[in-house]
Symmetry: C2
Amino acid sequence: LPNQKRATIRDVAAEAGVSKSLVSLVFSKADGVSDDKRIRVMDAAKKLGFTPNVWARSLATGAGNFVGILVVDLHNPLFTEIADLTRRALLERGQNSFMAAAIISERNGKKTLEPSTVNGLLDLRPQGILVVGSLPSVSALKSVPDSVPIVFATSVVPDLSNAITVRSDEAEGMRLIVKHLTSLGHKRIAYLGPNDDAISKARLAAFKVAMKTAGVDKLMLVHECERTEAGGHNGTKLLMVGDQQPTAIVAFNDMVAIGAQEALDQFVDAGGKKIALTGYDNTYIAALSKISLTSIEQEKGAIATQAAELLTNRDLSGKSRGKEFLLLPRLVIRQSTAGVVARD
Amino acid sequence: LPNQKRATIRDVAAEAGVSKSLVSLVFSKADGVSDDKRIRVMDAAKKLGFTPNVWARSLATGAGNFVGILVVDLHNPLFTEIADLTRRALLERGQNSFMAAAIISERNGKKTLEPSTVNGLLDLRPQGILVVGSLPSVSALKSVPDSVPIVFATSVVPDLSNAITVRSDEAEGMRLIVKHLTSLGHKRIAYLGPNDDAISKARLAAFKVAMKTAGVDKLMLVHECERTEAGGHNGTKLLMVGDQQPTAIVAFNDMVAIGAQEALDQFVDAGGKKIALTGYDNTYIAALSKISLTSIEQEKGAIATQAAELLTNRDLSGKSRGKEFLLLPRLVIRQSTAGVVARD
DNA sequence: TTGTAAGCGTTATCAA
DNA sequence: TTGATAACGCTTACAA
């Protein structure tokens, strides 16, 4: 079979001997077409291998029958897992989705999102939008019609009239971590992570509150770093050469934590004492027995379900705009803290 | 600012007091428009925040000015890294790209690709297509016009007239692994991985040839499993209860290997002897010092560059159709083999 | 150099 | 129940 161009509604109409509007009716509306014609159209469609061009449909109707998913960073398993889970949840509800990955480029030293991806996704006219991860800027989403809900997973709700947030309760997550560490006897606890966007600021703030509540905030250390393995690695090295060495490190997320873990291994190899370490997100990497990282489970499944619900239920999304859905996180204790003895 | 719908070419034309074709000309062709009008159009566009709808353009011209990227599985870091690297390489060449992730669902126990994603990507009319990972079936790509090159990264070239493959030389990769293991004294070597698609069949076949060449094929074990951590974990447990225990396990890829590593840890904890283990793909997980997995680097950067070259250079892609570009892989030795003593 | 009109693949309105 | 016709946002002969 030679490659032949995709059949259109016109080809099907000609083959079936009907008008193209009738073909359209068969493929969009359930009823209003006689059985006779319906069968002829379906036969012709099957013969020609016709499937409707969904984007031409979006163009004609002004709104496609799908949810657009924008994944900010493919490198972090948290995001790809949530995106995957949400797609499945949407599929169960009979809702199609189309997922586009953002490309982050460095323009004169500053990280920015290539606007082409987000514009491209918007031009497809999704019925709803899911943003997984933190966006450097939401200005590109300003042009989204007010009627289209934008759900932000794992991110703080931005200043956008149609935005809804689904995330774990950072305050509770950090409280669980700090309580766990202090109950093990740790007092000199360091925080390692970025402080550049809403979610990282929220997490750091939550850490500070938790430390204060636990009464150990006088011994608190904070070191800023990038949200990558490299950031965690370098940050940890810097933390461990200071005169105020922590006995435990709280990393912004699992990616930072695995970088920190590498640096701590080197520190121990060089004769240093073992340092407790926690991550955040409970990715599959944290669960590997060799890594065994104490971490916070954000309940990805619940986030996905909630996001899917918001994106398919117009009533719910209508009354939820501007709101934040906070899910209760859960501490998963592993060797990175349980196997470490606290010292003064 | 209230959310307002995206400005169209018509709005700009009205604002600038020209016809919409002229606006189109300004945004597509470089010359043929007077400076006077060009400036007025650009001013109007800026004022209204207009950017062309690229998909409407695709529809009108029959071919969009972008490369469509289809990522088969977001869970495997190899694929997301190659996709990311290729996008960057394309961007450097001034070529836009749009990336969509496939959704794999289980229909009556069998893994299939939801056709909506690949159809959706094709309906966008990309200039070229990059498929990262192995597709269960390429039938959906049959409708791609013959003039549009389809580059398969990390997969064997399928029966498609416009397909081109870029992948590492499996034969050489397996040769490197088996040579490394036999040089350490291993003779009873097991292979653990799937055997269901072209790439997994190729890798297993390459393993068998390498074992024969090394003269140890009489002691060869092969155990089939899924291409996941769970697959590697379960497969390893089954391998280690047999009466013919291997002293080394060659896993299909890093994901299978980290699953195997978990199972081997438990085996050692239960009093078993240490078993050597290799992965394939040299993902960042293999490089983590706690995991430290000997693996094969497929030269992701070179794959990305080659793919980008093929997707932007029409002459090259024209004369390359049906060909396979085999890149020389590289063995990265780490603790999973170097730290293990071979036994009989 | 600029505008008019037809067309890309679809749906929506309105007659027939 | 069906079929013309206009429209979605854009490009592209062709005409002016």
